[in-house]
Amino acid sequence: MPPNSLETPITSYHLYWLARTNHLTHQALEYALRRIGTVPDIHAWRKFIDNLLLLLGTALLLVGIIFFFAYNWADMNHLVKFGVLQAGILGIALFVSWRGLEFISGQSGLLAAATLVGALLAVYGQTYQTGADAYNLFLSWAILIIPWVLISAFAPLWLLLLVLFNLSLILYWEQVINPYVPSTELFLWLFLLNGTTMLAWEYAHAQGVTWLQNHWLRVIIFSATLAVLIIPTLQAIIDLDHGRYRNSLFAVAVLLYVAVTALALWYYRTRRHDLLLLAACLLGMLIVITTLVAELLPLQEAFSWLFIALIVIGQATFATKWLLQTAKTWQLETE
């Protein structure tokens, strides 16, 4: 550690370490944890209870209203059904414009209004029996809420939009292109959708868009991007063993998987530090490599089983060591 390390900000890790090494008494530790805010004071508790009551109260109230209309749904005529939903959307939109999108309550309101648009479209399809495929509903829903999503600067609303586009694509594939087989081509299209979103996210984040600092959205998009490449890669490995390697797009999926994993390992290791996404890449590699080894080895041989077990442990060991080493390197770089 540098000689002036005593001037660096203290964290709970420092305090836990001091306590473990018998340098602090438990009273001193508790006092210090309270001083740095790890153990909350009465003001923090008050804010926590306030937020919890707001969150739970709003959620239960909204679900209760939905249940109430669900109970009376069959008895309502079309006018009332449309009126209720449209009034709901309008009312929430007015509340949002009054409250402002800089507040969490305003942003949550916009999310609720966007959700109600889907309900309105569903009722429209049900009432007039349009006969449209389900993908049409999700696609229309997604397109209609785009303006709200653009102005919202609210990660959950962007996630809703992405989920709707994914659902539209999957349902379009099932209902229009190929009704029976989830093909590699679909996974490649899904990769294109989610991968592009991931790139856009990274670009916006690099530009300093503050509301995108939310970490969990990146984890979800990245996991989806990786998953839609891992599935056809595993299919390719299994088909390779059974001698029915018939889909030429498998090679594209496998190459893309390798390229994306390599790129992500480099990017999140050197450019933007993200240990969780690195761990996700390594978990994906563990699954793919273990499946490949298991497919190539004769499982009637005892030592094949031993080799697979050792391969799993070996990969996990490498992953753990590498992740911890990476975290240590980052820590040293910031000091």
Partner: protein, 359 residues
């Protein structure tokens, strides 16, 4: 209030407050400079190790069967027992080999599976559950590994459930639930004390997480429909026990924040909790999740809070889904509960404004 303190400022403050002896100041400062605090492994790295250890149990069992080492029930138990003994001994002498550490963990799990299943097949389920229960207690004390200790708590809890089922005393589950909740609360509320205790400093984290996760897993039974495997149980008993514990946790938190129990604020909080418990007497899972959430916030532990929110969502959804009432009554219940919480929030804001000092 929270502020960005440097290590030096805090040490000086601890000395000034008589919380650190002046002669210890140099020792602490030296410890900071000469040694580097270990960076704890993030939860997902620990999860990766645990998942891979369990994944490798299947090929290991396949290996032993393919080698025809395990042919009879006696050999299954013997191999399992030898694996457990061998891994415990090797683990004690393993100093810095991560690969060996993970290999031993996987082999230990394999040994446990073979040993317990072997006893179950050779004797009966009760003997297997008892053996598993004692085995896990022994392993917790002799095998110094957080993942193993955490999973040992889960296996011991499962064994206790099997015993209750086999002895046909389903109501005994309430005692198990309350004991798990008391254990978890004690582990987390006294975290600072445990961290400075030589025996507890390595035990409290895996056991603390283990007790909480085991508690919530046991409570999942309360939202499952009654069947051959889930006998009917009066869940209100668990709710009452957990409510008493929640009130105790609240009392403890108020006391540590210098809030008088007889103050109006305390009475509102304790009264609100009791009222909520009356409404939720059929759903101990929600009360346990609130205990978990309180413990997580009190310790500034985001993993605990994340777990609490997941379980709270599950139990709340199940509560309203399984309520044996019409959709209309459900909607009225939900609306009135939601409004009550929002009104309570307003009351708290109005009656006890933010700038008010402690009572």
């Amino acid at each position: 209030m929270t502020e960005q303190l440097t290590q030096r400022t805090l040490i000086d403050e601890l000395v000034a407050q008589n919380r650190l002896q002046p002669e210890a100041k140099a020792l602490v400062a030296n410890a900071f400079i000469t040694k580097e605090p270990e960076t704890p492994a993030p939860w997902f790295v620990t999860a990766l190790i645990a998942v891979s250890a369990w994944l490798s149990v299947i090929p290991f069992i396949g290996f032993f069967f393919a080698l025809e080492i395990v042919k009879s029930l006696a050999s299954i138990m013997a191999v399992g027992f030898l694996l457990i003994i061998g891994t415990v001994l090797l683990h004690r002498f393993n100093r810095n080999g991560l690969f060996l550490e993970q290999l031993l963990l996987a082999l230990n799990f394999t040994g446990q599976v073979l040993f317990i299943v072997g006893i179950g097949l050779d004797k009966d389920v009760i003997t297997a559950a008892l053996a598993a229960w004692f085995l896990e207690i022994v392993l917790i004390s002799v095998y110094r590994d957080n993942i193993l200790r955490f999973i040992a708590v889960l296996i011991a809890t499962l064994s206790a459930l099997v015993l209750l089922y086999q002895f046909a005393i389903p109501e005994g589950i309430h005692l198990l639930i309350v004991l798990l909740a008391i254990g978890a609360s004690w582990y987390w509320l006294a975290e600072s004390r445990h961290l400075t205790d030589n025996m507890m400093k390595t035990l409290y984290q895996p056991l603390g997480y283990g007790f909480l996760v085991a508690l919530q897993i046991v409570l999942l039974l309360s939202i499952l429909p009654t069947s051959q495997w889930v006998p009917p149980v009066t869940w209100a008993y668990s709710s009452w026990g957990l409510t008493v514990l929640l009130l105790t946790v609240e009392y403890y938190i108020m006391r540590t924040n210098n809030v008088m129990v007889s103050s109006p604020r305390s009475l509102v909080i304790l009264g609100g909790t009791s009222l909520m418990a009356l409404l939720l007497y059929q759903s101990p899972g929600i009360i346990a999740s609130i205990i978990l959430l309180s413990l997580g916030f009190q310790r500034g532990n985001r993993v605990l809070m994340g777990l609490a929110l997941v379980f709270l969502t599950v139990f709340l959804t199940a509560f309203y889904y399984y309520l044996n009432i019409t959709l209309l009554i459900k909607s009225i219940t939900l609306i009135s509960t939601g409004l009550t919480l929002l009104i309570l929030r307003l009351v708290l804001k109005q009656v006890f404004p933010q700038h008010e000092g402690v009572a």
